[in-house]
Amino acid sequence: MTTLRIEPVTRLEGHLNVTIELTDDGKVKDARARVTLTRFFEKFLEGRLMEHAPRIVPRICGICPEAHHLASIKAVEDAWDVTPPPAAIKLRELLLQAKMISSHIIHFYALAAPDFVFGPFADPAVRNLVGIITHLPEEAKRAIAGMRFGQDLCATIGGKAVHPVTAIPGGQSKPILEEERDGYLKRIDEIMDFAEFSLDLGKKITTAWLDVATKIGVLPTYYVGLTNNGVHTYFDGKVRVMDPEGKIAGDYEPRNYRDAMGEYFTDHSYTSHVFYKPAGYPQGIWRANTLARINVVDKMETPRAQEELEVFRETLGRPCHATFAYHWARLVELIESVEKAKILLEDPDIVSTDIKLADVSPKEGEGVGIVEAPRGTLTHNYWSDGAGLIAKANLIVATNHNLGAISLGIKQLAKNVFEKGILNELTIPEPLIKT
């Protein structure tokens, strides 16, 4: 038997290793995706003050600390029955949109683009962000400016560029100033132009790679994502589940998340596989993140994004099972986030200083906060004691929703490559830049 190990999987935020076992006659015996790290947040949150949770949990993820900060504050306020002033809620939503703008741009240009620009078989020394910066300095500059816009806005609202601090039970600790708002509004049209440029590029790449996209990584699964009565949202709504045939399997209130989400631990990964509980494991394995959100929604929230959802669906259908289509879906979402950020920045409430209740009291109870992180649905669930200390915490983060499907996808790919020799049959486009 031969064992292949990919240690670590690179251009990914986190710790993932892959093991593929081949029998002597070249069959795939097993393929495993292994997350090799966990840090026990559920344990060390016990005994903390509830209001400290939103300032601790951002450390779960360096890419999406804003999503954790917000899922956490929603869980705290849900447990204590606190509803912050409307302007505070708008600030929080803008914070999440700002994060999506920066994260979606980073994903497309820094994590994904090197494969398309230099080709999947290029030298690892070139096939990365450093290569993009060196060979495509103009595009890299625009991408960094776009990412910067999102991160700056995160810092203005959240108080820090990474690991935000401003959401406290009852509201926000700091308003944004009119001149700050004006500064972002001045930059937003340029960011919209860049989002449109990126979407065009994404469509061109998907078209060029269509042969690969329709032959590799086509994986029928369930899908999960938050919607507001069917409308695409990151911030507030019900958890919608779609089955592999495209039927809506259910819309779940955040408080009932455990009716929809089950966790299954394998013996080889510190991250669980989350699945659709009524369907059981492994039948109920689902996916989250861009493609899942684009599959489950009836429509997008903003007009340009809605037009692009229609183009996406005309081309790839609904549900779309092609893993490759995550990129395109991501860029449709990028358009919406820029449109939505503009709408929020133009809302007079966004500079309101009425953003914090003076009177907030802890109470005993359970709270659930669910938002969409860039990589998928994110759930924080805390149990508060009467003094406002965390008695218990349960977290289900985006990666877990995807890991079951990632494992299936790797096994499917390994069979295609090692048993069927698919790499020889694929039409792989010439790299944009030959190295």
């Binding site: 990919i6 690179t10 026990f40 020394a125 998340y257 631990f265 510190y270 289900i396």
Partner: protein, 303 residues
């Protein structure tokens, strides 16, 4: 680092950076010892794999930098040290939403019993604090090495120590957060400690003097006082000020000196979570860095 990346990246030859570059662990292990000029280590050492990589990187690097608070002090993950690892596993792998739980053992690295700061596992040449470190400080270090040359920087480190290099050569402030905070202070004494959600803070006045638990007096400066400027107390993510080992003890002593007519016991009762308040980032580096399993008390009785 945004557009600064455009200036810095072409100056560097990146030989390992899993989130950005496609080199694998075996490529790192194949590098000749001492051939990497600077290694940056982020994150705490929670598993045997983390410890292994830390030791490899030490061997391969001329200078090794603890990048960030997790790497320097253990970070928030150090708070898991108040439980033993078996209880951590029991919680993690068997929560309310777990339908089928188990403790994974196939092909996954074992956990370390406790989080130990990286510089207590291998020697570190330099620390860049902060959760996360800010761009300006990363550039101070990378820029300082480019400007003075690695050999000079290492020579200063060996001859004069880390604090000298940071303050005199690289321009890091050697103060506390309070020294850089612009909120007004009136030397008002504390009589009560409020929770962060109580009332509405006055953005002009010292948070401690408004009775909010701000870790400024026990925290190293250098971040630009970001949290108090955003209307929330400092929580100590830059670690203790120069020449202080135990950040929490420093804060408790600061509180004792500014509280009025109440003794420290009464004051501490207003802090329902000592670990999460005073040791959120630096428990693993404190004087009592982990759960003490057995306490043997010997009392000598004089007859």
């Amino acid at each position: 680092m945004h557009e600064k990346l455009l200036d810095v990246v072409p100056l560097l030859e990146v030989v390992h950076w899993a989130a950005v570059v496609d080199y694998k662990y075996k490529d790192l292990e194949a590098i000749t010892d001492g051939e990497i000029d600077i290694g940056f280590v982020e994150g705490c050492s929670r598993t045997e794999e983390d410890v292994h990589l830390l030791k490899i990187l030490r061997k391969k690097s001329k200078a090794l930098v603890a990048f960030g608070t997790c790497s320097s002090f253990g970070g928030v993950f150090g708070m898991a040290n108040t439980s033993d690892i078996e209880n951590c596993k029991k919680r993690k792998f068997f929560t309310e939403s777990v339908v089928e739980g188990c403790i994974p053992t196939l092909d996954v690295p074992d956990f370390e019993e406790f989080v130990v700061p990286n510089d207590e596992i291998v020697p570190m040449d330099l620390h860049i604090w902060g959760c996360p470190p800010i761009t300006e400080n990363i550039l101070k270090v990378v820029g300082g090495v480019v400007e003075h040359g690695l050999d000079t920087v290492v020579k200063i480190l060996v001859e004069n120590g880390e604090e000298y290099l940071l303050s005199e050569v690289l321009g890091f402030p050697q103060k506390t957060q309070c020294d850089e905070c612009e909120r007004e202070r009136e030397e008002k004494k504390l009589t009560v400690i409020k929770r962060d959600y109580e009332g509405i803070q006055d953005p002009e006045k010292c948070l401690l003097e408004q009775d909010y638990m701000c870790m400024g007096p026990a925290t190293r400066a250098g971040c630009g006082v970001q949290c108090p400027n955003a209307g929330v107390p400092c929580v100590g993510c830059w670690g203790p000020p120069p020449n202080v080992r135990d950040q929490g003890a420093k804060m408790i002593s600061a509180l004792a000196s500014i509280s009025k007519d109440i003794d420290s016991d009464a004051l501490l009762k207003m802090v329902p979570d000592i670990v999460g308040t005073f040791y959120r980032f630096c428990l693993a580096k404190s004087l009592v860095p982990r759960r003490v399993k057995e306490v043997k008390v010997v009392v000598e009785q004089k007859v």
